[in-house]
Symmetry: C2
């Protein structure tokens, strides 16, 4: 590798997602690493990724990564379980910087905390269809019994602001019933939207089931990797976050506020296609 | 207009939508005009349009229309209320063939059938945000009192196959409560997904409310326009339908069957971007 390919510690961390879900990962990274600059990209013009085919998700992921590379990031966080489940190898092979996804950190955490080995995973249709969590957990803990289920209505429910609505409770009861029947002791929230539904999910599965937030586990891995490679920012400048989106409208403004916990001021609208 | 720009009667009708919703319009066109060739494009790689900003919807609409023009269509049906509400002028100004959208036919039908003039409209956030139905109905019937409401969960519920689920009933009861309070006598189904929910919507608003299916009204307009311009197909060849999608996967196959009422055999996967 040429010296100019070696990232510098004061370059920003790049984070991308299909839209707003990755903001839960951004918050976890921000909490752990308050001194880092971050560039966040939400591909809001093409959200959702979770119902698309793997070939299309890979194409979108490469375009998102190319945009963030143009912003000179030192590390890429794939804050989208769908992309993480079908495009990690492609991204790692294509990029000269470290790439951290959602699957491995979440799987590792689940394998570590589960006592019985009965582990549930919920995610989008694409994530569950890929079987990525099942493989990753099985590779660490071959004795694990992993049951996966897609929950397609969870994303629109959170984006509608109905996380505490009785409709969300009814939907969650239906989606999560199989896990109660099996008696899991650990449930992986395998979609970055789901932490918004955490109180509801905990209520349905019961207080004894440990909920693994893959985004929070990934943020811990980002911290560790930066430390190990001596890439932690060392500037005294106040850190900045640049939010970029591919489509910006009233809906995004409203939904982003739910996920970010505060208004998102002036995100930059970017054109990924003109750059290709 | 140059002679070679005049469409020939045996060219196909082009229909596009962001995905599967337009298949309800396709079925209405097919029922009325069984002798016509049709090219249907579902932009499944970028569905949904209804939560995006007008500028992005216009860009997508122009790309969809350009693809169908490359298939030598004689008439374009914009089988998407969102596109119809923000991009009709652009499409009509840009294309040398007749363009029929959803808004005008639906608005005309509502203005015609309502006795009291109290008319409800339901649609996506983009459609309702544009106020297109309100303007179109008001232009025909200035005395009308039009109330619009977006129903963002209806699309994911129909695509989940939950049109008859108790969750759908609860969501519909919440979305449609204002219309019951106002006492409308006509409700426009201003999204091509909604005919799938028709029995449920009728149950909630009551049997005396007339439901306007904009897609069916548009199909009637297609028939009239072809007849008036002498563009009705006159070949003895059996008619064909070519289904084209921008992303094809298991989910699409399953959802398309709900909308089409039968399996969709071998749709052609097309790349709109390579063609630009």
């Amino acid at each position: 590798m040429k010296p100019d390919n070696i990232p510098h510690c004061n370059q920003p961390i790049g984070i991308f997602d299909s839209g707003v879900g990755g903001l839960t990962v951004y918050r976890a990274v921000r909490d752990r690493l308050p001194g880092e600059n971050v560039v966040y990209l939400g591909d809001t013009a093409r959200i959702p990724y979770g119902t698309r085919s793997p070939v299309t998700v890979r194409r979108y992921a490469m375009e998102d990564a190319a945009f963030l590379m143009s912003r000179h990031i030192k590390l890429l966080v794939v804050a989208c379980n769908t992309v993480s489940s079908v495009a990690m190898e492609l991204l790692r092979d294509s990029l000269p910087i470290p790439v951290i996804g959602m699957i491995e950190p979440g799987a590792r955490r689940a394998a570590q905390v589960s006592r019985s080995g009965k582990i549930g995973v919920i995610g989008t249709e694409a994530t569950v269809g890929s079987g990525a969590y099942k493989s990753a957990i099985g590779a660490i803990r071959p004795d694990a019994y992993v049951v996966e289920r897609s929950c397609p209505l969870f994303v629109p429910l959170t984006e509608e602001g109905w996380a505490a609505h009785k409709v969300a409770e009814m939907v969650a009861a239906e989606y999560l019933a199989p896990f109660r029947a099996i008696g899991i002791d650990t449930l992986v929230l395998g979609c970055t939207h789901y932490p918004i539904l955490r109180p509801l999910i905990q209520k349905i599965v019961g207080p004894d089931v440990y909920l693994v937030d893959s985004g929070a586990s990934a943020a811990a891995e980002v911290e560790r990797l930066l430390r190990d490679r001596e890439l932690t920012a060392d500037t005294v400048e106040p850190p900045e976050t640049q939010f970029c989106v591919t489509d910006f409208g009233d809906r995004f403004r409203r939904v982003a506020e739910i996920f970010l916990g505060q208004p998102m001021d002036h995100p930059e609208t970017v054109d990924l296609w003109g750059k290709q």
